[in-house]
């Protein structure tokens, strides 16, 4: 059935792209003429199967039918014609799928599965990551920065999502404490501790060398009698890390932070970066220029 001409015209009229939307990011020019990529906002790399279906439908309808998973847990819909950009964006948003960021701003927060999914997890990295994303993404304090600002949350000291490569990164940690009466002297913790922090003494009790301990919690999870217990848990924070042309690892700023303290650290780091950072430099470069101790004074 052929639609009448008027209706056809109306349906095929490209919607003018909202230029302000182009500025907030997420719409990226593809190399090929006239084609764009829409980058989606999928904080902590988690979406439902239903959302994936909707994304897939939009990709088939407006794009090339291909999706790309970015190294920062984002999804990009490739091959969208310039004229379809606004329609695709509107349809995504109507489906509850948000468009992501590029450019000099607070980026979508990444995180590993963490506690609850990963057997090694010490902190709820997904929940922490989601709440940081909710709090800072697209907010005034995270816009118009000197350069991009990346944040990740790792569930444990294994640091799978690479907190030391982010402008500010966190990992879960736990301090173990021995309940001597529960220990049967089996020595499993001694062989489990990869840091050589635990040695069995002459009485058959494990002795912990605090200087060597990295708060991984392996001794706690491996002890058959639960003699090692959690004294305190929290988040270690690193700042100034980046990848790219001149990679540098972030430095340890603080340990055993609560989720609220982690959020305060980001707020103060963004303020420091906005006021002291030069255009085009990442936080780590600003920190190097001004001094790590000065940075710590600002944010702690």
């Amino acid at each position: 059935m052929i639609a009448d001409k008027g209706e056809y015209m109306e349906n095929s009229m490209p919607k003018a792209i909202d230029l302000a939307a182009l500025k907030t990011g997420g719409l990226i020019k593809q190399k090929e003429k006239d084609l764009f990529v829409i980058r989606l906002r999928t904080p902590v790399g988690k979406i439902s199967a239903d959302e994936l279906d909707k994304i897939s439908n939009i990709s088939k309808k407006h794009g090339s039918g291909m999706l790309h998973f970015t190294v920062r847990q984002g999804i990009e819909i490739q091959g969208i014609k310039f004229d379809d950009l606004q329609t695709a964006k509107d349809e995504l948003e109507a489906d509850g799928i948000r468009v992501g960021a590029c450019g000099p701003r607070f980026r979508v927060v990444t995180a590993c599965p963490g506690e609850g999914i990963c057997p090694n997890g010490l902190s709820p990295s997904q929940e922490v990551g989601l709440s940081l994303d909710e709090e800072f993404y697209g907010e005034e304090e995270g816009l118009d920065l000197p350069h991009k600002f990346k944040v990740t949350v790792a569930g444990c000291t294994s640091c799978c999502p690479k907190p030391q490569e982010n402008d500010v990164g966190f990992h879960g940690q736990v301090e173990p404490e021995l309940v001597e009466d529960d220990c049967n002297g089996c020595g499993v913790c001694e062989v489990t501790c990869k840091e050589g922090s635990i040695v069995m003494d002459d009485n058959g009790l494990p002795i912990k060398d605090d200087d060597k301990c990295i708060y991984c919690g392996d001794c706690i999870s491996s002890c058959p009698t639960d003699a090692w217990v959690k004294k305190r848990t929290g988040l270690a924070a690193y700042a100034g890390g980046r990848w790219g042309r001149h990679p540098e690892l972030g430095k340890l700023v603080a340990e055993f932070l609560t989720a609220e303290e982690a959020s305060a650290l980001i707020r103060k780091s963004l303020a420091f970066y906005k006021s002291s950072g030069k255009r085009g430099e990442r936080l780590g470069v600003t920190i190097n220029r001004i001094g790590f101790d000065k940075f710590k004074e600002h944010v702690l």
Partner: protein, 80 residues
């Protein structure tokens, strides 16, 4: 040789993670509640991982005994 009477035994020396745990789990499934299983494990990853996985499944690790050849003997009580 043991202060713990065991109902069954499985030698998992030379068996890698996580196969060693899966074999332990399957063995425990054949056994009755309260039965004791003896498991021989290599040092390194196996002795760090298997007791914790067994614990996570709700069984009780009664004892870990270091053998003279550097391997370990684990006594597990099947629970649930």
């Amino acid at each position: 040789m043991s202060e713990f009477p065991v109902d069954d035994s499985i030698d998992l020396r030379g068996v890698l993670c996580p196969i060693n745990f899966v074999k332990t789990k399957l063995k425990l499934e054949e056994m009755d509640d309260g039965d004791h299983l003896e498991v021989f494990l290599d040092e390194g990853e196996p002795i760090s991982n298997v007791p914790r996985s067994v614990k996570d499944e709700g069984h009780q690790v009664l004892k870990v005994i270091k053998e003279t050849d550097g391997n370990y003997r684990l006594i597990i009580k099947k629970s649930g």
